[in-house]
Symmetry: C2
Subunit: 186 residues, 2 copies
Amino acid sequence: MKFCSECGAHLNLKIPPGEDRLRHVCERCGTIHYQNPKIIAGCLPEWEDRILLCRRAIEPRRGLWTLPAGFMELGETLEQAALRETLEEARARVKSLELYTVFSLPHVDQVHVFFRARMTEPRHAPGEESLETTLLPEKEIPWRELAFSTVKRTLEAYLADRKSGNFPVRVETLKPPAKHKKSAVS
Amino acid sequence: MKFCSECGAHLNLKIPPGEDRLRHVCERCGTIHYQNPKIIAGCLPEWEDRILLCRRAIEPRRGLWTLPAGFMELGETLEQAALRETLEEARARVKSLELYTVFSLPHVDQVHVFFRARMTEPRHAPGEESLETTLLPEKEIPWRELAFSTVKRTLEAYLADRKSGNFPVRVETLKPPAKHKKSAVS
């Protein structure tokens, strides 16, 4: 961030009066440009004993498997974002969304939120950002080819909780993976 | 948003290839400037049967009462943001944070997240953004002078759930209040 998005002048990094951390401040119009974490919302879509996964057609982690999820947009609720991503990435419709996992990923300035959701029918197909989609039973989940740590944790929790039928909301902080890139979704 | 924060050139509103909605795109360097909802994190701090409230010293809603909460910063977890805001606004220390309420406010592009938390001692004092702080029992809560709908809903839920001692995570969407201003925290 180098220029003011309001007036086009140069930005300075400084601590504004009454604040305690560096901000990008416009040297001409004085606008303070705050930056904040972003939300990724997604679903764990279930059909009978199977889970819907998507193989990513885009970076990061092209070719690896994920639950349908993506950046929450302006004007959306968390549920709307999760539904939209499920429709966009897997051409699947879901209902009965229940908040399930909430992850803080401070190293990439993201919060990931997954809902358990029931597919309204077992139809799915790859959207523009997916190479393929599939409905898999537990024993066929490609654990070594999952794209993101939050997807892995959500699937692990779900399969453990499914034994009891009790799905408490899980709130976790995830550390960066061994090979960490700031620009990547972790 | 009028100028590119990367190169200072003018921005155009257009739908980038492969996307489905208008974005601010730089006419010179091509950078797409995404905008996303922001997260407000806070605590419902409890001490015995009392709840810690802060009277706001700043707009919006100056003079009204709130739970300590504020914008999540880069590099933080949800819990760290909630703890920091509690320390900043009420000079209070809390522990044992448990996720309690999650609100989507699509009309202001925010998600509000509150944790139940226990105060480590009954000490509190107004921080820079508060006029006063107070520990109140249920019957003294100023229902008509609460600053935000999400604070009201969190307090209502808490007092109802306290009767059973069971505090399920609540996920809700809140509509704009009657007198809605896009710039305000709702």
